[in-house]
Structures are given as C-alpha cells and as structure tokens.
C-alpha cells in the first residue's frame, strides 16, 4: 500500500511516498511553500521519479501551514503530530525531544516512551529564532543559507548579536560588517543568536535525551553544536530531518487506512 505525505511549509514544500508505512520509496523538496506552485512541483517530482501516479496511491495526507488550503489530499493533520511520527520513524522510541526550526516558527516536541507526542511548545509570533531570521541575515551577507554553517565553523571569535528583533538585528549586522567584523565571526554570532533563542524555548519543557533536530535548519551543523552545548546534550541529526513532516504524514495516512 502506497501513501503520500505532503508537508507545505512557509518557504518549502516536501513530499514523501511510502510503502506500507515503513519503507520510503521517494522524497522530494521544492522551494516555494504555501500559496506557490511548490507543492505541485514536489508532487510531480515524486511521480517522475517513481513512475507511479496519483491513482497508485491509496491515501494522501497533507500537513504544514498550507494544509488547510490544499485540496488534493484525503485529510490533513498538524505538523506537530507529523514531526513526532517522522522523528519516531528515524530514531525509534528512545527519542524524547524534537527541536524543529522551520521557516516561520520554532517548536519543541516532547515524546513519550511509546513514541507519541506528549506535549509541545512553540515560539511566540516573533521571527527571531526561526529559519526566517537566518534567511534575512544570509540575504544581507549575500550568502546562500546552506553555506552559513561552513562559514561559521571558521570563526575564531563569534560576534555578539544582541537584538532578538529581526529588524534590529539586521541593522546590527550591517553596522558590524561596516566596522570590519570578520564574516565568519558574524555568521557564527547569527547562528548563536538563533541557538540562544531556541535554547530558551527548549528549556521551558525540560529537555530530555535523546534529542534530535528536524526541519531545514537542522542541516546547520554549527548551530546544532552550539545549541547542544547550551543545553548540555548531544543533538542528533539525520539527512531525512527536513522530511520528518512529510514522512510523518505518510505514516499517519497508513495508520488511518
């Protein structure tokens, strides 16, 4: 039985096609989330890679901020539940905490020993501590967001970005650049600022190991390391991190068959 999970976020769309809720047949990611052609492009990509069509798939579940406006699915479920299923799929029942830094929010999901979400906490409405903050800063520095981590690794003395407000931090970064602060130090400071903000959120639910990160920002090794140090834990990473939502939706679809 094939099931498809679609995760429509604020900046990207992800899909995961699974067989019997256990085996990942294909994944796909396209830039462009809610309100763009990103979701359709990601789905078309799945069909192209698997030579399957919609009629071969038994159930489609959509998640993410765009879930309410997407009409081609058989149901929708929150990204919180999907990330929990996705995290459990990758790490099993030992996983206790998932830290997800998405495009416009950050969430911490607590898992119980049966692999289910027992509680969650999300950031307030402010963009500080979210992927959007990193995106804005990467834009100012004219850098690809995916290169922030490598650049930060070369820092010898991370700059201090004291403003949590994205708009204030923007001008702070510009003035530090003008004052000759080295780019790696600045990038490291930017990553640390996100880690500090998210760290405070995680502490509110009392972090328990095993801890992993999901979402696009999870790939930022520098940020993961700094956040782990702040919390005194090791933060696991898996290349599927960005697909937890989509994988979770496909598993949910299978469970609801």
């Amino acid at each position: 039985m094939y099931t498809l999970g679609i995760d429509i976020g604020s900046t990207t769309s992800k899909c995961a096609l699974m067989k019997d809720g256990k085996e990942i047949v294909a994944t796909s990611l396209r830039v462009g989330g809610m309100g763009t052609d990103g979701p359709e492009a990601a789905i078309t990509d799945i069909w192209a890679r698997t030579y399957l069509t919609r009629s071969d798939v038994d159930k489609v579940i959509v998640t993410g901020y765009g879930r309410k406006n997407y009409e081609g699915a058989d149901g929708e479920v929150s990204e919180l539940t999907c990330h929990a299923f996705g995290g459990n799929y990758v790490y099993g029942n030992e996983l206790r905490t998932i830290i997800d830094i998405g495009g416009q929010d950050a969430k911490v999901i607590c898992m119980n020993d049966q692999g289910r979400m027992s509680n969650f906490i999300m950031n307030d409405k402010c963009a500080a501590g979210t992927g959007r903050f990193l995106e804005v800063m990467a834009n100012i520095l004219k850098m690809d967001i995916n290169n922030l981590s490598d650049c930060a690794m070369q820092s010898t003395s991370p700059a201090s970005i004291s403003s949590t407000c994205t708009v204030f931090a923007e001008s702070e970064v510009i003035s530090q650049l003008a004052n000759g602060v080295k780019r790696p130090d600045l990038v490291a400071g930017i990553c640390e600022s996100v880690a500090t903000r998210v760290g405070a959120l995680v502490r509110r639910v009392q972090v328990k190991e095993k801890v992993c990160m999901s979402g696009g920002v999870a790939a930022n090794e520098y940020l993961r390391k700094v956040l782990g140090d702040k919390l005194g834990v090791t933060i696991e990473y898996d290349p599927l991190a960005q697909y937890f939502g989509a994988i979770g939706a496909a598993i949910y679809a299978y469970n609801k068959k």
Partner: protein, 408 residues
C-alpha cells in the same frame, strides 16, 4: 449571485437566564447614560474595585474594561487603539487602556457608547497599569480619582495587617465620595448590596461548577458573555435572580442530558487568560469544530465574591487572580482542572496583559505537570486585533487535540 438569506435570530425566551443577563448588562450602560442626563453622579470603575461602594451610595457605574471588550468584539479595537497611539500612547500598553483613553478623547464610539464620568474608582488588585491609565483619565477629563491600593500579595494567605490596610482605604473612599457628591452612606443599603453580591456570586460559582459533569451542560464560551453581569452588576437584586436562573438551567440541562455546547463534547479543556475578543468567533470555532469544549476558566470564576463579614469581603478583593502569588494561583487552577476533568490547557498569551501572561509559561508548566495534561499556548490580544494569527492558533489547537486524542 444569489442573495444571501439572513436567518432571523431566534427569539430569546424572556424568562431565560440568557435574556435576563443580556438585559442587565445592556441596562447598566443605559442606566448610567440616564443618570448622567438627570445630573446624577457617574463613576468609571475598574473591574475588581469593590462594587459595594458605588452600589450602596447609588452612584451609576461604567466599567471601561467591559466597554473595551464590547468595542473589541464588535470590531473597533484597532480603530480606537490607533486614536490612542496617535495621542502618543505606546502600543505596548494594555489595549483596554488604549481603547478607554481613546474614548475619553473622542467621547463617542458607536460600537459601545457610555456615560462620561464624574469620578474614577480605581483598584490596582488586577494590575498597576490600571493606576497610570486612570491617572491619565483623571487628568484628561479633569475629574477626581479615588484609588484603593491592593498590592500584589507574595504570601499564600491574606494577613490581618493586609486586611486592615485595605479596609481603612475602603472607608476612606466612602468618605471621599460622600464629600464630593454630598451623599450619605447607608449601612442598611450596604447590607442589602452585600447580600445581593454574595447571592449572585454563590449562584455564579455554582453554575460554573456544573462543568464537573461530563458532558458539561454548557459551552464555556457562554461564561464569557454572562460574566459581564458579574463584573458590572453583581450587587443588584436582578443579578442575583438571573444568576440563580442560570444555575437552575444548567442543572436542568444536565438532568435532560442537553448542553449549550451544540457539538459532541469529545475533549474538555481549561482556557487561560482573557478572551481574544476581536477573534471570539475564530477562537470559538477552532475549538467547537473539533469537539473541544472549554469547560472552565479562572477568568470567569474571578468575579465570584462570596463572604460573610466585612473582613472576608476585603480578603476576597485581595485574592483576585492577578493579586495572588504563583503557588496560590496555580493551586486554584489545578483544582478547577481536577474538579472539571480537564484533558488539556489552552493558554492565551495576551500581549496586552503583561502581568497575567508574564507568569503563565511557568504556571502553565506546573499545571500541566500537576494534572498530567498537555498545554498549548497561542499569541493574541484581548482588544488589539493586530496580535493574532488564525493559522498559528489553528495549528496549536489541532496539536493539542491530537495529543488529547492519543491520550484517550
């Protein structure tokens, strides 16, 4: 395009609690406007000021918080906040204060007009923002302000020294009002008023307590409307009678197996914080459509003042939710959650109310732990519509529901 057919609102039975309570709340505004026309004194009063004082002295009352809630619920919160902000008030200030200060300037707002005041009766047992708000009103309107200082109580119990301090101010406020308006305090009337206030409170608390039945005989959002009477008119005979009708109806609902919550009650939650008035429909729909009944909220119970002596009355005013320490505030909520078999807690992180929202992260964590229930919070505001995102609300409520479902 087909013409939209508007359904005529269902007539409300004049003997029902809903009708009686709606009428009392509406009459309070009309009576104050009438008093003003007749040259009688009108006071603007903060919600947890001892209602016994103006009621006994026969001073007509207007509750600016209540007015601001009405204005916000009718969609004019932003317009009024804009007026206050243009006057130089920061948008970080409580939106009730901004709406009220805007009204003091405009002296009209079709969404909820009120009589202008001759005196301000302020009590800081809900917050200290109240003091500055009323001081500014006093200055702008050039009228006297009487303040009853009830500081935040860091202790669990209310000490006798605390009671004496507030009790003395109670009588001082009475004497000031007697002098300003040349009126006389009447002990007999005071006794009558306290009697009604306690009767209203007893019935109100018993009515909200009917939520211990599963399913609950009422939709918790009803309380948000009905409580207006507890805020503004609890010392009146009609209020006591209407609250007793409400209690009777809830009891009957339970006996007949019906409820004012029109969906199947699948989950029961406690709602924390002031209602998000500009989005009352959206916040209510997000719950109702998922079969989630908000069965209890401390916000409603906060206006039940039951006492049997003067000192107990003062102690009750010193024990309102925003004046008590974290442990006591938590214990009250844990009791409500346990009494009413609550399965989840939804917290309104109200950008207006710093005091209330400020200690919620820790308090809700402790409540969640003590009751073994999941907690979700959302950003919003009681009157400024710019601080709410429906998508954010929806995701969090859905997440909360999914945990409650998997806990079953």
């Amino acid at each position: 395009m087909a013409e939209e057919v508007k359904k005529a609102p269902r007539p409300v039975d004049p003997n029902s609690a809903k009708y009686k309570l709606g009428k009392i709340a509406g009459d309070a505004y009309v009576n104050a406007i009438e008093a003003k026309k007749q040259g009688k004194p009108v006071a603007w009063v903060s919600s947890n000021f001892p209602v016994e004082i103006p009621e006994t002295l026969g001073i007509a009352t207007v509750y600016p918080e209540n007015q601001a809630a009405g204005i916000a619920a009718r969609g004019a919160g932003e317009r009024m906040c804009d007026v206050a902000e243009a006057e130089g008030y920061s948008n970080d200030i409580c939106a009730y204060a901004r709406v009220s200060l805007a009204y003091a300037k405009l002296k009209e707002c079709p969404e909820q007009d009120v009589a202008m005041p001759d005196v301000l009766l302020c009590c800081n047992n809900i917050c200290n923002c109240m003091i500055k708000w009323y001081e500014n009103l006093a200055q702008e309107l050039n009228i006297p302000m009487i303040i009853l200082d009830i500081p935040f109580n860091p202790d669990y119990e209310v000490s006798q020294a605390f009671i004496d301090y507030v009790g003395a101010q109670f009588w001082d406020a009475v004497h000031q009002l007697e002098e300003i308006f040349n009126i006389k305090w009447d002990d007999k009337k005071f006794e009558e008023v306290t009697g009604f206030s306690c009767r209203s409170s007893k019935a109100w608390l018993a009515a909200t307590g009917e939520a211990h039945w599963t399913p609950s005989p009422f939709n918790g959002f009803d309380l948000l409307n009905h409580m207006a009477v507890m805020v503004t008119a609890r010392g009146k005979a009609e209020a006591a009678e209407a609250m007793e009708t409400l209690l009777k109806e809830y009891k009957e609902n339970h006996e007949k197996g019906v409820s004012t919550f029109r969906e199947e009650e699948k989950y029961r939650i406690m709602f924390e914080g002031i209602a998000c008035w500009p989005y009352l429909r959206a916040t209510s729909k997000g719950l109702k459509s998922r079969g989630i009944n908000m069965v209890t909220t401390i916000y409603a119970d906060a206006f039940g003042f039951d006492y049997s002596s003067f000192d107990e009355m003062i102690a009750a005013y010193c024990s309102v939710p925003n004046a008590i320490n974290l442990e006591k505030a938590r214990d009250k909520r844990v009791k409500l959650c346990k009494d009413d078999n609550v399965e989840g807690l939804l917290v309104h992180t109200n950008r207006s109310c710093k005091l209330w929202s400020g200690f919620m992260p820790e308090m809700s964590r402790q409540i969640g732990e003590a009751c073994g229930i999941p907690v979700a919070s959302f950003d919003g505001d009681q009157a400024d519509p710019r601080n709410f995102s429906e998508a954010q609300y929806d995701t969090r409520v859905q997440g909360l529901m999914e945990i409650m479902e998997s806990n079953k």
